[in-house]
């Protein structure tokens, strides 16, 4: 976790979880799960699939906890390394077996946004993410890990198995590509007018 994220507390939780404390495992999952979902949502753009990826990441994380060795900062990288792999696996399997999620009928009333509103928000996010389609997958992954998962360059490097310097170069190239694409699009639009 980055500064202010309660890294010491998380370290303690992780240590207890590794020692077999079920409550600590639950606490760890509760802490990281929202961020995993955010990241999965930004990578995938489909809520149901992002939920599945989040769940699979949490399961894998629970199984991998005993093998983790490091501090809170490395733990976050560890978590998002798993999440990144799960996203890739999900995208591959989606290519093999296309599925269309249907809405569950909730059994209980909920104050959460209704299906229409959620669909509109999902569409808005997908529209924005589509503008990143011109980027290589790794570049997109780096950008989203940086801004959505809120990881530092060092953490992204650990998660993706590379160095922080390489991450910085990748994100610089990604931003340059984005700028060029947006500027070119804007120019095209201006010329069209």
């Amino acid at each position: 976790m980055r500064q202010g994220d309660g890294g010491d507390e998380l370290s303690g939780l992780v240590a207890r979880a590794q020692a077999g404390d079920p409550a600590a495992v639950g606490d760890v999952i509760r802490r990281v799960r929202p961020r995993i979902f955010r990241y999965a949502m930004a990578r995938i753009g489909a809520r149901e699939e992002a939920e599945d990826v989040t769940q699979e990441t949490c399961v894998a994380l629970t199984e991998a906890l005993p093998r983790f060795d490091g501090d809170a900062s490395r733990f976050t990288s560890f978590v998002f390394g798993i999440a990144s792999n799960k996203v890739l696996m999900s995208q591959r399997s989606r290519g093999r077996r296309p599925e269309v999620a249907v809405a569950d009928v909730p059994d209980v009333s909920s104050a959460a946004p209704g299906p229409l509103e959620r669909a509109e928000r999902d569409d808005a996010l997908r529209g924005l993410l589509a503008r990143l389609d011109g980027l290589p997958d790794r570049h997109r992954d780096v950008l989203l890990l940086r801004i959505v998962a809120d990881l530092s360059a060092e953490q992204v490097g650990e998660a993706l198995g590379t160095t922080a310097a390489n991450v910085r170069v990748i994100q610089h190239r990604a931003l340059s590509t984005l700028r060029a694409g947006i500027t070119g699009r804007t120019d095209d639009t201006t010329e069209g007018v």
Partner: protein, 336 residues
């Protein structure tokens, strides 16, 4: 500043820019940064509280909603029913949550004391598989009928998926009972083959297959082939074609064999699957219309259909076994 220094500065500037975007700070006029900031905002809307200790949406985000509520509801219902009928000891009742105790007390007052035995009360509170038809109810369910109505007035009208399976099992049982030479035999025999054979002698079986196939609609001999939703032969060879007109009385018309083969009250017989239609065994050597063991009465046959049946009457010898076509004959012989 050398080009290398310039490049490093840009890289550092982009790194700082991304950190600012992640922190939700102003991104200036950079269009790429604005786009990334919009993405962060959109994700925040969909999944707020990115770094919080609690899952979003009160813990429901990312979970399928309400998975446990069904089983929990059944458990609660059984608890209330057992407690209301006095089936729990005072100590056990005392361990129930207070709202459940209150509800159990209310239900206990609403139910007549004769509802009595706990097991019956449970079976009343949780509608049993196959309980959709009140006439099928056992003595126990009749005794606890008042309780059933009090606890779930519409229990008898609810379609439980289990009923379909039960019906299928019962249906097979009825067929097996009827396969020993009753009118169901032809239907049973026809169903034993899903597709028509190329054997010309078996072409007549097509009609029986259509009429007895579970997906086939109710048919009526008075219906003309033109109204059939199924493929026809396109000629006047008398190929029988089941029609789409449902005929509630059809079950009794054609059920002279099938209905009699079913033991009274044994199972809810579905007219669509149990009825054999007169006049639908088609043409050919197996014989067409008058194939019913109990021939259809003229009053049930419309003039148009009768004429059609007569005009399509082939030269083949009508089968003396009525509905029992070649399939049925083979099958019943096998069963014998």
């Amino acid at each position: 500043m050398t080009p290398d220094d310039d490049g490093l500065a840009r890289i550092e500037a982009d790194d700082a820019l991304l950190s600012a975007i992640a922190a939700g700070e102003s991104t200036g006029e950079d269009p790429a940064a604005r786009l990334l900031a919009e993405i962060v905002l959109a994700v925040d809307e969909l999944a707020p509280d990115g770094g919080g200790a609690e899952p979003r949406g009160g813990g429901d985000e990312g979970q399928r909603p309400g998975r446990r509520s069904g089983l929990w509801g059944v458990t609660l219902g059984v608890s209330i029913a057992v407690a209301a009928s006095g089936g729990l000891s005072a100590a056990a009742t005392g361990r129930l949550p207070e709202p459940v105790q209150r509800l159990a007390a209310d239900v206990g007052q609403a139910a007549p004391p004769a509802a009595a035995a706990p097991a019956e009360a449970v079976s009343a509170a949780v509608p049993a598989v196959g309980a959709e038809d009140p006439e099928q109810g056992s003595g126990a369910s009749e005794q606890s009928g008042a309780f059933r109505r009090a606890s779930r007035p519409d229990a008898e009208r609810v379609w439980w998926p289990g009923n379909a399976r039960l019906r299928a099992v019962e249906h097979r049982a009825v067929e097996q009972r009827g396969a020993g030479g009753t009118g169901v035999a032809s239907e049973h025999g026809a169903r034993s083959r899903d597709y028509p054979s190329r054997d010309s002698d078996e072409r007549s079986g097509t009609a029986a297959q259509w009429s007895s196939h579970p997906s086939a609609p109710d048919t009526d001999e008075s219906s003309s082939p033109a109204s059939s939703p199924y493929p026809t032969t396109g000629d006047d060879t008398g190929y029988p074609t089941p029609t789409s007109s449902p005929a509630p009385s059809d079950a009794t018309d054609a059920g002279d064999g099938a209905a009699e083969a079913t033991e009274p009250g044994a199972a809810p017989t579905d007219p669509r699957t149990h009825s054999s239609r007169p006049g639908q065994s088609g043409s050919g050597s197996a014989g067409p219309a008058p194939q019913q063991t109990t021939p259809p009465t003229p009053a049930r046959e419309t003039p148009a259909a009768g004429a059609a049946a007569r005009s399509s009457q082939p030269t083949g010898t009508p089968a003396s076994t009525g509905q029992r076509g070649s399939h049925g004959a083979d099958r019943s012989a096998y069963h014998r």
